[in-house]
Symmetry: C2
Subunit: 279 residues, 2 copies
């Protein structure tokens, strides 16, 4: 199988998910370029709508992106008692900014190291409460101390440029950019694919955060059909699984995937995963 | 893409999941035959272990089958106050019988219409509490009235021989084979693929059962990486999401996937699915 063969795009990654591959039927290749950082493809698929592919890995499709975007945004936002200032690292497709915007937090700052020619096309970036920075997330955080309530890291997988976002030093940096009781939430991979890598990321987080958890959501176009999030809180009494925002307030936001029940259920892990992470 | 091409098996079903395909790298084709009912393949895969494929659709792989088998078995068994006699329709791979056996219910009856030359190889079928019948599940149930506490339907997808197991008439038949307060649990498809078909199955169930619910579990080798279960109870006060068996009793069974928390979380559906099914 090739990555684009007879009208199908196949996601082949022998290092990250050996022996398995997800394929989407492609109607049209919309855009193809090699940037300084990544190989970029945008394709129109037959049944998943438009799809962004970076370095041969599906980043999001129109059909199922709301599951990932809502969950990586609302899990930390609703676990924090009063999130006023939010930093999004990565998130160049604009989906997380759209979700954070939709509950109208007083101020939102986005730092993105993603190619600006894609991300600027999203209308969410025109919101004046949002500050878009094209640059290095590490450098940005070094210059902003004790400033954010929530930091969301919407990164690609831990291969190539994104590796550093899964390491202990990154959690240390986020801690210093956070206010008291701040919460972080990062794309954290699949428990079916690499339990030990997730545990290592959680251990790195635990070095700097009082409470650490892993939650999961269903996304058909991601490897193994789901994706997890590593969360850390500076509040030692943090209860991640119980949203701080009331059920009726959450319902009023009118989301497609996220609800109070979905929030709590996301932390219920299969018994063998639960034991591996927490015992 | 062909179904077996350059050492990869690809699951192509233009009717059931158009425009998408999951592939597994195959080390060796162990068995291949065309029975009176189905096309049967058993392959050894590179990273998912041994895999059973019927009519080009993955039925189970050694790596992730425990999620499906434990959930389709323990969701109904633990939702029932005292399950003594269990009927498994389908389940020819023996996985469900293995799970039902592992909590040592007083009596278990299996009716299977699957090819006997595969299913008989599993040691669980030697258990004397288990009665194996090779035949038609419909005929079997017609002859057994008010007999079972739980009926588990471990079927293939609603295409070909399994279509009838998703219809209202099947729920009617199950109701008559059940004792008072009996519970049924059937393979019910993915909410990402066909919300309306699941809703139709649930409506068929609702014609004969006082309470109906849909739950879900993560299975990477199934389309969209998960699978759902349609459950019905003759008890009008049934609370599906709260297991009747205590947390410590469930923990003592020592399962890999299922736990009290996983049981409850399985019923928390994405907001748009919840609204579609229950509002």
């Amino acid at each position: 199988m090739d990555s684009l063969n007879n009208g199908w795009f196949s996601e082949l990654q022998a290092d990250l998910w050996p022996g398995q591959s997800f394929s989407l039927k492609v109607k049209e290749v919309i855009h193809k370029e090699k940037s300084r950082f990544q190989d970029i493809q945008i394709v129109e698929t037959e049944t998943y709508g438009r799809c962004l592919i970076l370095d041969g890995i599906i980043q999001c499709t129109a059909r199922d992106e709301f599951s990932y975007q809502e969950m990586i945004s609302f899990l930390p936002l609703c676990a924090h008692p009063n999130p006023k200032k939010v930093l999004i690292v990565g998130g160049g497709d604009g989906g997380v900014a759209r979700e954070v915007e939709c509950i109208r937090w007083k101020s939102t700052t986005v730092s993105s190291s993603c190619p600006s020619n894609i991300s600027r096309r999203w209308p969410v970036f025109a919101n004046e409460k949002l500050k878009l920075t094209i640059g290095d997330g590490f450098d940005y955080m070094k210059k902003h101390k004790n400033e954010f309530d929530v930091i969301i890291t919407d990164s690609s997988d831990p291969i190539g440029p994104a590796v550093s976002l899964f390491q202990e030093s990154y959690y240390e940096l986020m801690k210093h950019a956070l206010k008291e009781d701040g919460i972080v939430c990062s794309q954290g991979g699949s428990f079916w694919l690499d339990l030990d890598y997730i545990k290592k990321t959680m251990s790195g987080c635990k070095e700097h955060f009082a409470k650490v958890a892993y939650a999961v959501t269903s996304v058909p176009s991601y490897p193994c059909g789901h994706i997890g999030f590593v969360m850390g809180s500076l509040n030692k009494n943090q209860d991640f699984a119980t949203p701080k925002l009331g059920k009726s307030e959450i319902d009023a936001i009118d989301l497609r995937y996220y609800s109070s029940e979905v929030h709590s259920a996301a932390f219920a892990l299969p018994r063998w995963v639960q034991k591996h992470f927490y015992e």
